[in-house]
């Protein structure tokens, strides 16, 4: 039930961290190789960090030939994050992945550091759904007027689950020159600043869809993870905390058990949807 947030871990440079997770989510794979955005790519802020990596990846050919076999060798369930700049690109990459032994495909339709796809979320999910039989998650942005409507649109289009949230755009200026710290100017804000935003998005999307949700956003402790479960997530992911603490998966897992137990829950998942007061509005269809 503890994953990494896509983009926050590389299985090939830190396999031992990957093996401390319940499932590993790859960096986003696009049809063609991408070198990523021009440096500077990261900056710390008061309550988080900004990144503008820009979906650096080897492209689907390189990913299938070189990366994926080595990732699968680690023996951890693999989710592949898929990106693109048009719905057909998502569909093409999903089709190439369809015969691979993956636990799930996560559609990254919400990266703040590259151009948005031409189509809306619903159309992207629909064409990806038609291209693969794999379990399909849509990773959504909280930077929309109505995250419940976006979640419902993904559900209508055939998503099996949702990942909430991706980073939101932020800017940091150099103290001396007042120029943007990041090469591309703005970047994606992650870390503790996202916690209440992620909680609200999970809470809202759960009410709107009842779909399984992977909660993401500023989780640093087991208590933070338990909050996301209570808001309606059936799993949660670690992102920025991994940069400072590669042992976070083990620590957070232990803390999660303790925090659930301290509140009288037999297991952490027993706290599922507790924030909604009473039984879930729809049954838990599938736990990620």
């Amino acid at each position: 039930m503890i994953l990494n947030a896509s983009g926050c871990l590389d299985a090939l440079t830190a396999p031992e961290v990957v093996q401390s997770l319940d499932a590993f989510v790859t960096k986003t794979v696009t049809p063609l190789p991408r070198e990523g955005n021009q440096p500077v790519r990261i900056a710390e802020t008061d309550l988080g960090m900004l990144n503008s990596i820009g979906l650096a990846n080897p492209g689907i050919d390189g990913f299938l030939a070189d990366t994926l076999p080595r990732v699968l060798d680690l023996g951890v369930p693999v989710w592949v994050s898929v990106g693109g700049f048009a719905a057909r690109e998502y569909a093409d990459v999903c089709a190439r992945l369809d015969d691979k032994p993956l636990a799930a495909i996560e559609l990254n339709v919400s990266c703040p550091n590259v151009s948005s796809p031409e189509e809306e979320v619903e159309e992207i999910v629909a064409v990806a759904r038609a291209a693969t039989t794999k379990t399909l998650y849509a990773k959504l942005s909280p930077s929309v007027p109505d995250v419940g409507a976006a979640a419902a649109a993904a559900a209508r289009a055939g998503a099996d689950g949702l990942t909430l949230v991706n980073t939101i755009r932020g800017l940091a200026l150099d103290e001396r020159t007042l120029e943007p710290k990041l090469g591309p100017g703005v970047g994606g804000l992650s870390g503790p600043a996202l916690r209440p935003i992620a909680l609200a998005a999970v809470f809202t999307a759960y009410r709107a869809t009842g779909l399984p949700i992977v909660g993401v956003g500023g989780v640093e402790t087991g208590a933070h993870g338990l909050d996301l479960i209570a808001a309606g997530a059936s799993a949660f992911a670690l992102g920025t905390v991994l940069f400072a603490d590669p042992e976070a998966p083990l620590r957070v897992s232990e803390e999660l058990e303790r925090e659930a137990s301290a509140r009288g829950f037999a297991t952490p998942l027993a706290a599922y949807a507790a924030a909604h007061g009473g039984p879930p509005p729809t049954p838990l269809r599938r736990v990620a």
Binding site: E16, P39, E175, T240, F243, P246, L250
Partner: protein
Amino acid sequence: MPCRFRSELRRELLDVVGVEDLGPYRLLRVKRRRLESGVPGQFFMLAPPGRLLPRPMSLSLATRSELGFLIDPVGPGTKALTGVVRVERLNVLGPLGNGFRLDVERPLLVGGGIGVAPFPYLSERLGRPPAVLGFRSEAHAEAAALIPNAEVVVEPRLVTEAIPAGHDVLACGPEPMLRAVADLSPGAQLAWEAPMACGYGACYGCAVEIGGALKRLCVEGPVLEHAA
């Protein structure tokens, strides 16, 4: 559920021994516990109290019981790191990345500003070779006391004006200095710097454009051999 085991990345909570001034720079010393000192030019991620992200610091000094890091306290992270006192402890991860290649015949250390940080340890491992160190002021040049056999130049004079020919150059300093050294000394080993979030290849944040390609410094560097 897969079996869980602790990361092989070595991270330790280390006792602060002390912080000393060297001009505007500060030398942070911590108990080393089980951490290896690594190869000179490798780095450690030091977690500043109260900050979200750790900061990459190359190792300046290694004794049997202590590690020392020369730090320029310019931002919130470096100020927090050098503002610690003896009773505090710091999380330290490392050593990380690729250090200097030490099998050189006529080593010359070329450093600029806080780029001299790895040189005390490097000098010791190379048998105290000659060094040329550039600083922006006499006060900053106090850091040269840590490095034996050093010629010190102070702005407006630049280190690139003081590099003798016929040496294997090992350099660390600001990016313009490294690019100038590379032009003067083909084959030089250059230690680069970039903001880093993780230090172990996870974030892809520390990319720097070198030779027309983006290099991830934490796994491909930070020491890179300049193509001759």
